[in-house]
Symmetry: C2
């Protein structure tokens, strides 16, 4: 039986390993991974020992093997179809991002209310009118709705998305959304990445 | 003296508090914050006790006070000027994002090589030709370079950015960049957010 504390650290391990993998790095030492996460390397090795024998003392862990294993445990190895609501700058940037396909995530359709955009293609992905959301969700089998609409309409769009049957929402709009308890909601704020960088810059400039 | 392990957990606390703050939530319990991070709530309370008396037993922590304090400790309360290289879909979406201004981050200029884009404005921010990077960096006092160019040119653009004097780079292109040791590099991969969501969806559908 894997302890709950270990299970809850898995998304953090996933994050670090995913970054190393997407950067093409094939081996990571436990010190490096632990340091990245602010935990001790002995805690990390203890956690990972529940999942098999991945580490080679003195060398480290094979990044892609470990990543694959963690993805399976976390149930991340499923292909998911994604609807993007709001075919603006951010929505179309996400629609074209090759990183998603690499992870079995398929942006299947875009939705907007701007007549000028309806019927256009973003790469292979078509832009439909928002009123087609329910039909397209059923027809194309989408499960995740990504919200890249203005903050002012985010709550009302959320209600439409839930009515259309989506149970999982990835929100980029800078507002707090009210959703029923059974809806899975992930809020994304890109500010965290740049503030982390700003912090490292301060420490470096300070020293 | 604050232990190193506590200091290294601060960016994780910052992340959670930042999300709660940006969602307008004003109080967070230690159980909720700890659960979010996969650590015990007693570890969390011990860490936070080094920074003063923020918690109210039975109620929780004041999110914006704690966030402000952590930002000061991490040196995140400095205003920073940002240059965005690659005025495409993602670059222009970031240029317009109000979340940055709210944190004292100012997108000061955009750069591109596409003649059709040079001289245009994205909101208040002008698009300059890449050849003006060094001059504008000095003239406008920018410190952080954000890379939103295609993967195929990321390494060569990085070299220009370093030559121009930038010491901090936030990279969105899905490639591993080679940089000298003194350069601070943050890689951003939006795939992590959606895979975390996909994981929760699997667990929910599985149960
Ligand atoms: N979380 C982050 O880190 C981050 C970063 C950048 C932008 N953003 C946010 O993402 C959102 C989109 O930003 P952007 O720069 O792409 O904006 P944008 O103005 O370029 O795009 C918004 C799109 O939404 C469409 N739209 C408006 N109302 C709609 C509705 N009711 N239904 C469907 N579509 C509708 C518009 O026609 C437009 O195409 C904004 O809320 C912005 O603040 C977040
Ligand atoms: N990390 C993530 O989560 C994520 C998400 C979406 C996109 N991306 C990545 O971000 C990058 C930009 O994506 P996009 O959808 O905005 O692409 P885009 O094609 O819309 O924009 C790229 C821009 O870069 C410009 N450019 C090309 N070569 C240049 C050079 N040498 N110097 C300066 N500018 C140059 C182009 O003229 C264009 O304006 C890509 O690498 C993409 O894979 C990453």
């Amino acid at each position: 039986v894997i302890p709950q504390a270990t299970i809850s650290r898995l998304p953090l391990y996933f994050r670090v390993l995913n970054e190393y993998n997407h950067l093409g790095i094939s081996v990571i030492s436990s010190e490096e991974m632990a340091g990245n996460l602010g935990i001790t390397s002995s805690q990390l090795r203890k956690d990972l020992s529940y999942f098999g024998d991945f580490g080679i003392r003195g060398t480290g862990y094979d990044v892609s093997d470990l990543l694959k294993q963690i993805k399976e445990i976390l149930g991340m190895d499923k292909n998911r179809r994604i609807a993007i609501i709001g075919a603006g700058k951010l929505g179309t940037a996400l629609a074209g991002y090759p990183g998603f396909k690499m992870h079995g995530l398929e942006v299947t359709a875009l939705f907007d209310i701007d007549e000028a955009k309806i019927g256009q293609q973003e790469g292979k992905v078509e832009i439909f009118h928002l009123s087609e959301l329910s039909n397209k969700k059923r027809e194309l089998g989408m499960e995740i709705a990504v919200l890249t609409i203005p903050a002012s309409v985010a709550q009302q769009v959320t209600e439409l998305v839930i009515k259309a049957g989506f149970k999982a929402i990835w929100n980029f709009a800078p507002v707090r959304l009210e959703v029923p308890e059974h809806i899975i909601l992930q809020n994304e704020d890109l500010v965290v990445g740049i503030l982390t960088l700003s912090h490292h810059l301060s420490r470096k400039l300070g020293s």
